[in-house]
């Protein structure tokens, strides 16, 4: 029985009936990982005994057979989220050997829901990147074409789910780091509204932009994961105290009568032609399903990347200051404390992280703060207002997730700016704080690489986004495709 190919819903159904045990589910993944991960390298850390021990405990307690939403389901965790007792390196040398001493809020939620914490997935160092090539521990390969990148920064999580190495995985999204890899790997990736899911335990990159979200094989699975992860956390001052609905409740309503906005700025020259074709076909499908298509404008789209790379790097430069070799992590000896700081951070951080720290520090420095940081925050307000205005005319917005499909490993590493520009469709969403999902909507022909459709909703309207996504998904076959490994 190839359990590893099931969705969460399918697995849960079997677990509830007792047709399958948590151990069997876990073992099926371990076997799959053994079989393919040497080629994919999605996982950074895996403790099979620990995972099976968790599964056995769940089988003994009977949790999988009762109402626990994720009872007996193994989930993979991006290496940027704290799990007590597990290593947490954020794919960085500076945290080599570091063990988490506490659980992130979302991890507590997963445990309470009966999930099994399977292993830790690869990522761009400190979530800075769009290809997972910035990991200090090696690259992850796209399951659809091993010569290609899986996207980033949550490349490991996306690849794991796409290759049936996990039933679901957690990632984090600061400028598109869940949606873009989901698009490039052909699975579902959801970024909740800022403040919907607690950031407590997520190693911070850009505090006002980061959100944790799930990678899944279907939209329904994503809705279920979101239900477990979302909710107020008093340990996170930015966590919004709003009740968490049953996100799948509205699925039955489909898209009839919903207005779908198409921002003209997202259909640009230079976009991969096949991506454009697939996106337009998806829009047509939504129309067939009863949605009304409306043309909208998000006039400040062109400025989003610039705004992002000032605000995110500024916040990151402060967030990463704590990595200094004093209390945890790796240390390089120095003649005095300042020398130690310089050497520890110089040796511990990779080139992309250093670049961003320098840029962010500069943007905050005396004489430049107003010109860079403050100005960027003002343009951010304009971007936010663009979305607020747009959502008066539509209920959801649809765009391609990325202007391109997975590129070859090494193709963009020499040109950071080129790499930054590939985030152009996802970045505004984090700046505005709204929610969005990417789901498969087609493939390029040769090579056969996934194309992703992005659906955006207004703040705290995850329900509408999921509803539109589910309707599209169920009317197509893309979500059933699997890479040949």
């Amino acid at each position: 029985m190839s359990l590893h190919t099931l969705t969460i819903h399918q697995l849960r159904e079997k677990l509830r009936r007792g047709a399958v045990s948590a151990r069997e589910a876990t073992q099926s993944l371990l076997d799959r990982i053994l079989s393919v991960d040497s080629r994919l390298k999605a996982y950074l850390w895996l403790n099979a005994e620990d995972a099976l021990a968790q599964a056995d405990a769940i089988d003994r307690s009977g949790i999988a057979r009762n109402g626990k939403l994720l009872g007996g389901v193994p989930i993979a965790i991006k290496d940027v989220i704290n799990v007590e007792g597990q290593p947490c390196t954020c794919a960085s040398k500076i945290l080599k050997g570091h063990t988490s001493v506490y659980d992130a809020f979302v991890v507590q939620r997963l445990r309470e829901a009966g999930a099994i914490l399977l292993g830790r997935t690869n990522m761009d160092e400190f979530a800075m990147g769009s290809s997972t090539e910035n990991s200090s521990w090696g690259i992850t390969h796209n399951p659809w074409d091993l010569e290609c990148i899986p996207g980033g920064s949550s490349g490991g999580s996306a690849a794991a789910v796409a290759a049936d190495e996990a039933f679901a995985a957690l990632g984090s999204d600061t400028g598109g780091s869940i949606r873009q890899p989901a698009s490039l790997c052909g699975c579902v990736g959801f970024k909740p509204t800022y403040g919907r899911v607690s950031r407590y335990g997520l190693v911070a990159f850009a505090s006002s932009l980061d959100q944790i979200g799930p990678f899944t094989k279907t939209v329904a699975d994503g809705a279920l994961m979101l239900r477990v992860l979302a909710g107020h956390d008093p340990q996170d001052s930015t966590s919004v105290p709003r009740p968490v609905p049953d996100y799948a409740k509205m699925f039955g309503d489909g898209v009839k009568g919903l207005r779908i906005g198409l921002p003209k700025e997202y259909f640009i020259d230079g976009m991969n032609r096949e991506v454009e074709v697939a996106t337009r076909a998806a829009i047509k499908k939504l129309q067939e399903l009863g949605a009304e298509i409306v043309e909208i404008s998000l006039p400040h789209t062109d400025y989003a990347v610039a705004v992002y790379y000032l605000i995110a790097t500024a916040e990151a430069s402060a967030n990463l200051a704590r990595f200094d070799g004093v209390r945890y992590g790796a240390r390089v000896a120095g003649e005095d404390v300042i020398d130690m700081y310089g050497k520890t951070r110089g040796a511990g951080f990779g080139p992309e992280v250093k670049r961003r720290i320098i840029l962010g520090t500069y943007a905050l420095s005396a004489g430049y703060y107003d010109a860079y940081y403050v100005r960027a925050q003002k343009v951010r307000t304009l971007i936010r207002q663009d979305f607020e205005n747009a959502f008066e005319k539509c209920d959801a917005i649809v765009t391609p997730t990325s202007p391109e499909v997975a590129f070859r490993i090494g193709e963009k590493t020499d040109d950071p700016l080129k790499m930054y520009l590939s985030d152009i469709f996802t970045i505004s969403v984090n700046l505005a704080g709204i929610c969005g999902v990417s789901l498969p909507c087609g493939f390029t022909n040769d090579p056969r690489l996934p194309i992703g459709l992005q659906i955006l909703g207004k703040s705290f309207d995850e329900e509408t986004v999921l509803r539109v996504a589910h309707a599209y998904e169920q009317a197509t076959e893309w979500h059933k495709a699997r890479p040949r490994l």
Partner: protein, 476 residues
């Protein structure tokens, strides 16, 4: 040429809260190193700060006590600099929108005049860890990291070391009486840095400002400022320039010396902390806090003097402790003799508490009973001496004086007939003393008085005894 000093003080106060500013670790002092820490105050990866409500209230209260404008909207900023006592290498502080702005602390000058020392601002921040220096290394204890710290910046309104001393003393008094902080400088609960410059009298332009650090007591501040003013004045008189620098006070040698200058000046790169939400202070919040406002010590002292007819010394003792003052006021409220109450409180009451190592809260004497005791003595029902015995019984049992006097039959005998009886008996039993007295030894009457008191088991009204003895002995 005459020179004058311009002094400003920056005071950091540890607020008296149970837990730290942004996490729930205890604020207890003197525990083993690194036992009061958690991932948040250690700056572990992935943690987030959450504001301590009490710290915010206490800061607003302080502002209200010194007449500040409390900000309707206040926010948090990150102040970046690298140091081993900084868990995140940025300190969460307040930059451009502090909780309190403006205000003043009144000090008393020689000759009874008062002067208002302006306060520029009071804001909240988190404290840093403690470094201990060894031979070639330093060790860091993070117990203190994250404690709530209120920074109060004064205007450069002080013109002498004595004024600085008075300001710190007055500020301490306000903070202690308001329950804001215990201000124990030895425990680091109150720290002070100073900015001082000197200029020719009459010149409007300020001289070069020097920052003085490492003054560990209030007297130390006065000494340091006296030295520094003298140093700067001497330099200017010689025609030298004063450099703008940071100097360290060494109390042992009585001098300030230049601290090692850093290569680059601090660029703190302040920006709003995205992890913390702003504080919006409503009128309702301020009204609720105003209710908790404690009367300022000086005002209370004056009121006690006027309202209860107490001398300044008594008022000072009673007002120094808010609980004691409250106790006194409850006793005085039901008494016709508040001065006597004050005497009882300052001597017997405080004395017995110290002896029994009890706090006022643990004492079982009702304040109203103290008033009753005073009334019994004033009314002549018992003597002052008996009163002291009754007090001890009150302290031990919590019973009312009236009940104790009744149970023990201690009512003073003021019946002249009865006393005459005792006097006659004493005279009869002690002929030698009588003879001594009649021979001119006035002191012999005291022995006889003592005998009368003994016979009456201490209950005879001593004044009457004296009068009656005198009458009988002089043969009237």
């Amino acid at each position: 040429m005459q020179y004058e000093a311009v002094i400003g003080l920056e005071v950091h106060v540890q607020l008296k809260t149970k837990s730290k500013m942004f996490c729930g670790c205890t604020t207890e002092f003197g525990t083993p190193p690194n036992t009061q820490v958690c991932p948040v105050c250690l700056g572990y990866p992935g943690v987030l700060p959450v504001m301590n409500e009490e710290a915010v209230s206490k800061t607003i209260l302080t502002g209200l006590m010194i007449g500040s404008k409390v900000a309707g909207f206040s926010k948090w900023d990150r102040k970046s600099y690298f140091y081993p006592d900084m868990p995140k290498n940025y300190q969460i502080s307040q930059y451009d929108l502090p909780l309190c702005a403006e205000g003043a602390v009144e000090i008393k000058l020689d000759g009874g005049k008062t002067k208002a020392i302006g306060v520029t601002r009071a804001h909240l921040e988190e404290d840093v860890a403690k470094n201990t220096h060894f031979e070639t290394t330093s060790g860091v204890d993070f117990n203190r990291a994250g404690l709530p710290l209120m920074e109060i910046v004064s205007e450069p309104d002080m013109s002498s070391p004595d004024e600085a001393f008075a300001y710190l003393t007055a500020l301490k008094e306000i903070l202690i009486s308001g329950g804001i902080s215990d201000c124990d400088m030895e425990k680091g609960q109150l720290r002070c840095d100073s900015n001082v410059s000197v200029r020719p009298v009459g010149q409007e332009e300020l001289g070069e400002k020097v920052e003085i650090k490492n003054m560990n007591t209030i007297s130390g501040v006065r000494r340091a400022l006296a030295y520094e003013i003298q140093r700067q004045t001497a330099a200017l008189q010689k025609g030298d320039k004063v450099s703008q620098e940071t100097r360290r006070w060494d109390d042992a040698t009585g001098r300030t010396c230049v601290m090692r200058t850093k290569e680059y000046a601090h660029d703190y790169r302040y920006f709003p902390d995205p992890d913390l939400m702003p504080v919006v202070v409503s009128e309702e919040m301020i009204a609720a806090l105003r209710k908790l406002l404690h009367e300022l010590p000086e005002a209370k002292r004056q009121r006690f003097i006027k309202q209860y007819g107490l001398p300044e010394y008594d008022a000072g003792v009673l007002v120094a402790d808010a609980v004691l003052a409250g106790y006194y006021e409850r006793a005085a409220a039901t008494s016709k003799n508040p001065k006597a109450i004050s005497n009882w409180v300052m001597t017997e009451f405080l004395g017995k508490l110290a002896e029994a190592k009890k706090t006022i809260g643990e004492c079982v004497i009702q304040p109203e009973h103290l008033a009753e005791l005073v009334a019994l003595v004033d009314g002549g029902q018992i003597s002052g001496k008996i009163g002291k015995e009754v007090f001890v019984e009150m302290f031990d049992s919590g019973k009312s004086p009236g009940l104790i006097v009744k149970e023990k039959g201690l009512v003073q005998v003021s019946d002249t007939g009865a006393i005459e009886g005792f006097v006659n008996e004493a005279i009869a039993k002690n002929p030698k003393s009588v003879a001594d007295f009649k021979a001119g030894n006035e002191g012999a009457i005291n022995f006889l008085k003592g005998q009368v008191m003994k016979l009456s088991r201490g209950k005879a009204n001593p004044q009457l005894v004296g009068e009656i003895l005198q009458k009988k002995l002089r043969g009237n």
